[in-house]
């Protein structure tokens, strides 16, 4: 059986991939997807570190995962709605087009 360390590494990789995506991609939907990746990394970390809990039957890590899934779903909906609204105004979903609030 693989150790917690391996899971943690995968989680970190997933999170890092998400960060890279969120920073590097210009398309709003791609950034949303990248955010999902970061969330997944975090969830994996929660689930795996739950193993290290002194009480074997403790499920707080898993419980967090359930919550994050729910919150992520809601967040994605809001995000997509924003993207739609922005698309109506700017006729594009590229983030670098949205720079009205600059100096």
């Amino acid at each position: 059986m693989l150790g917690v360390k391996a899971y943690a590494i995968v989680a970190a990789l997933l999170f890092g991939l998400g960060v890279y995506g969120a920073l590097a991609r210009r398309h709003a939907i791609a950034v949303l997807v990248a955010l999902e990746l970061m969330l997944n990394g975090a969830m994996l970390a929660f689930a795996s570190f739950s193993r290290l809990h002194p009480l074997a039957q403790a499920v707080s890590g898993q419980a967090f995962v359930i919550f994050i899934i729910a919150v992520a779903a809601a967040e994605t909906i809001v995000g997509l709605a924003l993207v739609l609204a922005l698309h109506r105004v700017f006729r594009t979903a590229r983030l670098d087009a949205f720079e009205l609030l600059k100096w």
Binding site: D96, F98, L101, W103
Partner: protein, 619 residues
Amino acid sequence: MESYYSLAWLWWVPAAPFAAFAVIGLFTRPWRQLSAAVSIVAAGMACLFSWGALFSQIKAGPEAVRNDQYIWFATATLKPAVGLLLDPLSAVMLVTVTTVALMVQVYSLGYMGREKGLSRYYAYMSLFLAAMLGLVLSNNFLELYVCWELVGVCSYLLIGFWYDRDAAAFAAKKAFVTTRLGDLGLLIGLIMICTRAGSFDFADIRARMAVGGWEPEWLTLVSILVFCGAAGKSAQVPLHVWLPDAMEGPTPVSALIHAATMVAAGVFLVARTFFLFAGSPDALAVVATVGGVTAAFAASIAVVQNDVKRVLAYSTISQLGYMMLALGLGGLGAGMFHLFTHAFFKSLLFLGAGSVIHALGTNDLREMGGLRRAMPVTFWTFAAGALALAGVAPLSGFFSKDAILCLAWEKSPVLFLLALVTAAATAFYMGRVVFTAFLGPPRSKAAQTAHESPTVMLVPLVVLAAFSVLAGWWGAEFGRFVYFGVPSDERMRWGFAALMQVAPLAGILAAWLVYVVKSPDPDALRRRMEPLHELLSRRYYVDEAYDWLVDNVVMGLSAGLAWFDRRVVDGTVDSIAWLVRRTGDGMRRLQTGRVSNYVLAVFAGVIAAVVIVRMAGAG
């Protein structure tokens, strides 16, 4: 000691004119005659209560001092009060001021009757009277200073009464600025005294001084600073330049403010704070010297002036110098006595001159002449005033001048000589005015057709003439009365006094020879002494010297300071502002509006936070 005179009445003395000022300003302004009536009634009331105060004071004796005050505001260290001080000095001043003021206000009915701004005139007159009485009655330095500045403001307003005339507006400004110069000294002086004594109250300061421990040098400095204020108000050399120009105001104003009352405030101030001067012989010497020099200096200028009001103005300066001389020699009684008599005959002379000006429409002596027949009352009263001013026995000026001459004879031969020459010059220029204006042939059409002034103007002349003739009989009693109860040895010495009559009689005789007999002829005389005449009629070039001083020194200094202000002070402020602006401009670029940049910043921030926390934890 119980007295029939209640101090509650005394409060009405300054309060009545002030109420008149408020009533005229707020309500009766559109009705000119009503305004005049309000003002005169208030002045009459003040006059009545003042005489009451004087009689009660005489009855109570010179040592009686009464005091009444309300605390204005209290701090931990100082409790400035608004108070009244009734002692012989203030009682005498009260009577002088209110009597002359009442006469002048009645006279103004005739002289100013047709002015559009009559209400304004009477409002200012009432405010002036209130301030002047407050000054006289004040029992502390702060109240005195407030009133001191108030009379200055009123003087400014009244000199500039005809503000649409440039000369009047300039003269008002000049008077205000010049006296302010002296007031600065007074302000510094009184701050120094009051912080050291811990009180504004004259009685407290006296008590503190009696304890001792004040360095003589410090006392000298403070006294001279106070004297600066007095010199400005009383037009002593070199701050005298404003008074002749102040003649641009209406003649009754000159009579009240610039002859009898406000200009005497400087003398009064020295008298009121005499306890300070008494502690410093050097300061007294300064006062005496300035007074003596002023007396002779102004008298010599008065000899050649052609404007009748200017002659009287220089004469006023000269007589104020006389009073200062007396005070400087320690003769509080003599100085105040001269102030008292001078107030009557000088305001009389001004009102008489006003009567002539009213009839002729000119101030110029060269356009008068032969007015004796057309204006007999004016002539006789004016002559009485002139004789009193010259110091001819037995008119009031004789007694007060004699007291001063006597004092100078004992204390300082040089100052005595100055005073004696001044006395002769005074008689000469007054003789000149009387002889040229009232005797001889009329020298202009206006002088031929002149008529006597209306009764309302003549009554004050007669009343003041009566005072001028009779006020002297108080004599040596006065010295004892005013001198805070300290007996003074200013006794009448008839032999000396008779000898001193030589000076005024010689002056009058010389004027008679020159201006009536015409031998030597005045024009020939003038030509023979052209340089001297030029020097005198240009008033010793003092005004020119001031102009030069202002144009070169003051303006140069100001230009330097203005440069410093613009370059250094403003420069510093501006560069700080520039720096902030430029920094802001640069920092603004951080706000790109792009989400990805912000996200990067968030991540960088998180990483930085983690690193810092770890390092702190490791430490």
